[in-house]
């Protein structure tokens, strides 16, 4: 029975389930997004607003403790503490041997989160404990993020969890208090956009390159007001960790939520994880999840297809994720770019200290950061280590590896990846957000150039004056070895 769920096509019971999920028996098929959304509507509030049930609430140290306190002060204790999970990631140091005291400004936030979660019986994967990690790494790793569920967190990169087939989105601080108090949200339904990636991944290309390429094609505002579904043969072929990376950057094209339909890859990944259903319950859940993927005749408000032949390893050159090119291209010239973007391009090049028309490859790099909720999972660390192994970082480069969670760190150490990085002159650190946001004091110094596996290259994101280039873990590792932006395919 244990392997029953692996069977291929849905049977009669699934079609029955599909009809249950779609009781109005609309002749038109439904999208994955609509199926999850519609099945979570508690009541219609009028004017296009609905009250949506939230299945999972994840908290982190930046806003978790504060929001819990505020809800409690308003007289609303957490409505569903058992659907709520927390972990500190944003505000503590990632220095080896760190505690909450290592970065003192973060300490009160971590203490307040500890105190409030304990008071209401909310499970906290605390500092120094098994399970602690970046909140968007922790959810899927623990099996808390399930297909077909709604999941929210006070962080815009919550879309990451969509890689598991979950409808996940980031929320603001007042919305967070609302969810704590009611386990619901007042929401208006977004439109649907399907981004299909067709074909095979070319050498050196990863999910990070796919999503950066897409943002480069569509721009950072294309997804505003949409929910995104990633589809196509290339997406189907991606392992779960890569799907999480893909969905992570959804917010960088303006959409709050991005998802990949669950399939056998999802169930393989999930089966046996701590909080995933077990035994007969598992079989029931999988039968339910098999009815979730978008029906063949479902319609989207917008469709976009990417031919994987055109996707090469990417690197950002400017101060927005849409400022992105293939690594073998020249730095764009604002005078030949679209007129409405000229000013922004010029300002970005000035901030980044780059000359238009020159190849981006070979640009000298001072820092390399491998980590963040985008690219800190075990497959990311393996990809970076495969480039680093037997080599040494360039002398002038400071290179950090910050694993996404305690478990990833342990797994990597068991495989000897820490040795690979340490022998190559990299630092091997404790799990957390670290240099992605620099809210824990870990910064790229002013004027220094960094190649980072994170998701934002905004002005000052990695520290005041820091110059960030986003890329995949292998590309970042290559930059550390060469001491300059490098094409991973040539290593």
């Amino acid at each position: 029975m244990a392997k029953d769920w692996r069977r291929g096509s849905p049977g009669a019971d699934i079609r029955l389930l599909q009809r249950t999920l779609n009781p109005k028996a609309n002749p038109m098929g439904k999208t994955l997004f609509d199926k999850i959304w519609d099945s979570h509507v508690i009541t219609d509030l009028g004017n296009g607003f609905v009250l949506l049930h939230i299945d999972r609430l994840l908290l982190h140290d930046m806003s978790g403790g504060k929001a819990l306190k505020e809800a409690i002060e308003k007289g609303y204790p957490p409505a569903q503490p058992r659907l709520t999970y927390g972990t500190p990631d944003h505000t503590m140091s990632t220095q080896p041997g760190r505690t909450e005291k290592t970065h003192p400004p973060g300490e009160p936030l971590i203490l307040s989160m500890r105190e409030t979660t304990r008071a209401y019986g909310i499970k906290l994967f605390d500092l120094g404990q098994d399970g602690q990690g970046i909140v968007h790494v922790m959810g899927p790793e623990q099996g808390l993020t399930l297909p077909g569920t709604t999941l929210v967190c006070g962080d815009s990169h919550t879309s990451t969890h969509g890689g598991m087939g979950s409808l996940a989105f980031g929320i603001g601080s007042s919305e967070l208090v609302h969810v704590i108090a009611t386990q619901t949200m007042v929401q208006r339904k977004p439109k649907r956009l399907r981004a299909s990636f067709e074909g095979k991944l070319m050498p050196g290309v990863t999910a990070k390159d796919m999503i950066l390429h897409l943002i480069g094609e569509l721009g950072t505002a294309a997804g505003t007001g949409y929910s995104v579904e990633y589809a196509g043969s290339a997406v189907r072929a991606l392992p779960i960790e890569a799907r999480l990376t893909l969905c992570n950057l959804t917010i960088e094209m303006g959409a709050r939520t991005g998802m990949v339909a669950p399939d056998d890859t999802t169930y393989e990944y999930l089966n046996g994880r701590d909080y995933a259903p077990k035994g007969a319950m598992w079989d029931r859940a999988v039968a339910h999840w098999r009815a979730l993927p978008t029906d063949p005749d479902a319609e989207f408000d917008r469709e976009h297809t990417v031919d994987m032949k055109n996707v090469a390893p990417q690197i950002t050159w400017g101060t927005s994720p849409e400022h992105v090119i293939a690594v073998d291209r020249a730095i764009p010239d604002p005078s030949t770019g679209p007129e409405e973007k000229r000013g922004a391009w010029e300002a970005a090049l000035k901030y980044q200290g780059l000359e238009p028309g020159k190849p981006i490859e070979g640009t000298k790099v001072d820092w390399v950061f491998i980590g963040s909720c985008t690219n800190s999972r075990i497959s990311d660390l393996r990809a970076a280590a495969s480039i680093v192994k037997g080599r040494h970082k360039a002398d002038h480069v400071t290179a950090w590896v910050v694993p996404g969670s305690v478990r990833i760190k342990q797994e990597a150490e068991a495989e000897g990846l820490d040795r690979v990085f340490l022998d190559a002159g990299f630092e091997w650190r404790e799990p957390g957000c670290s240099m992605c946001l620099a809210s824990n004091g870990e910064r790229v110094p002013p004027g220094k150039r960094s190649v980072s596996t994170s998701n934002r290259n905004f002005v000052g994101r990695q520290g005041p004056g820091a110059r960030t280039h986003l890329a995949s873990p292998a590309m970042a590792a290559a930059a550390a070895i060469k001491g300059a932006i490098a094409d991973v395919r040539k290593i």
């Binding site: 508690i42 009541t43 009250l51 049930h53 299945d55 002060e73 308003k74 609303y76 058992r82 659907l83 399930l146 077909g148 569920t149 007042s174 208090v177 609302h178 108090a181 009611t182 386990q183 619901t184 007042v186 909080y275 259903p277 319950m281 598992w282 029931r284 859940a285 339910h288």
Partner: protein, 205 residues
């Protein structure tokens, strides 16, 4: 959240334009860990107190009968500037239940409705007349704000109608902030959840 149905009391004419939220409460007071209920003493501190910390007798909030008055009369754009919700908490802490002005800062206006403080928009000539009537008989003059009937009754008995969004009026009359409004669907939520526990038991840990 406190309900608001009807308030009768002294109205303080603070007849300036652009009373910003910085003037209402300084940001340091919100960082200094003063609790939400403890902000009253710091409300309008920059005009209520002299630099040496003593009360400024020239400030209308320090004069009778305006001390502890539940209503403020003001000119255009009351509550403009920073989005700090602490401005509303501070006013409430000082005993203010309603502010009458020609129009309000947008965010301040929203924040009021999350906290049971009523912003009433009236034409400036009406507000000036209310202020005059207040000053004419400082001991006895009272203003009434009747939310149910959407009208203000002046000290001389004139009734002045005002407008308010029906959803917000309902929320204020019943003491419902956003969360409270959702809570009014509590039975539906609970029913949905118990049905879901049968349909998708694996979600419920």
């Amino acid at each position: 959240m406190d309900k608001f149905t009807k308030v009768t009391g002294v109205a303080t004419p603070l007849m300036r334009q652009n009373v910003d939220t910085d003037l209402i409460i300084r940001i340091e007071r919100l960082v200094d860990n003063v609790t939400r209920d403890g902000l009253g003493p710091y409300c309008f501190e920059q005009i209520r107190f002299k630099p040496d910390g003593s009360e400024d007798p020239d400030c209308i909030f320090n004069q009778q009968p305006y001390r502890d008055a539940p209503i403020i009369l003001s000119r255009e754009n009351f509550g403009c500037g920073s989005s700090r919700e602490g401005a509303v908490w501070a006013l409430k802490g000082m005993g203010v239940r309603a502010v009458i002005a020609p129009y309000f800062g947008d965010i301040f206006n929203n924040n009021c409705f999350q906290n049971g403080l009523l912003p009433v928009a009236l034409p400036i000539h009406e507000i000036e007349q209310l202020a005059d009537e207040m000053k004419a008989s400082p001991g006895n003059a009272r203003v009434t704000i009747d939310l149910e009937n959407c009208q203000v009754v002046s000290p001389t008995g004139r009734t002045i109608p005002f407008q308010i969004d029906a959803r917000r009026q309902h929320a204020m009359l019943n003491g419902l902030d956003d969360i409270a409004q959702t809570m009014s669907h509590k039975d539906v939520i609970t029913a949905w959840q118990s049905q879901d526990k049968t349909a998708r038991p694996w979600v419920w840990l």
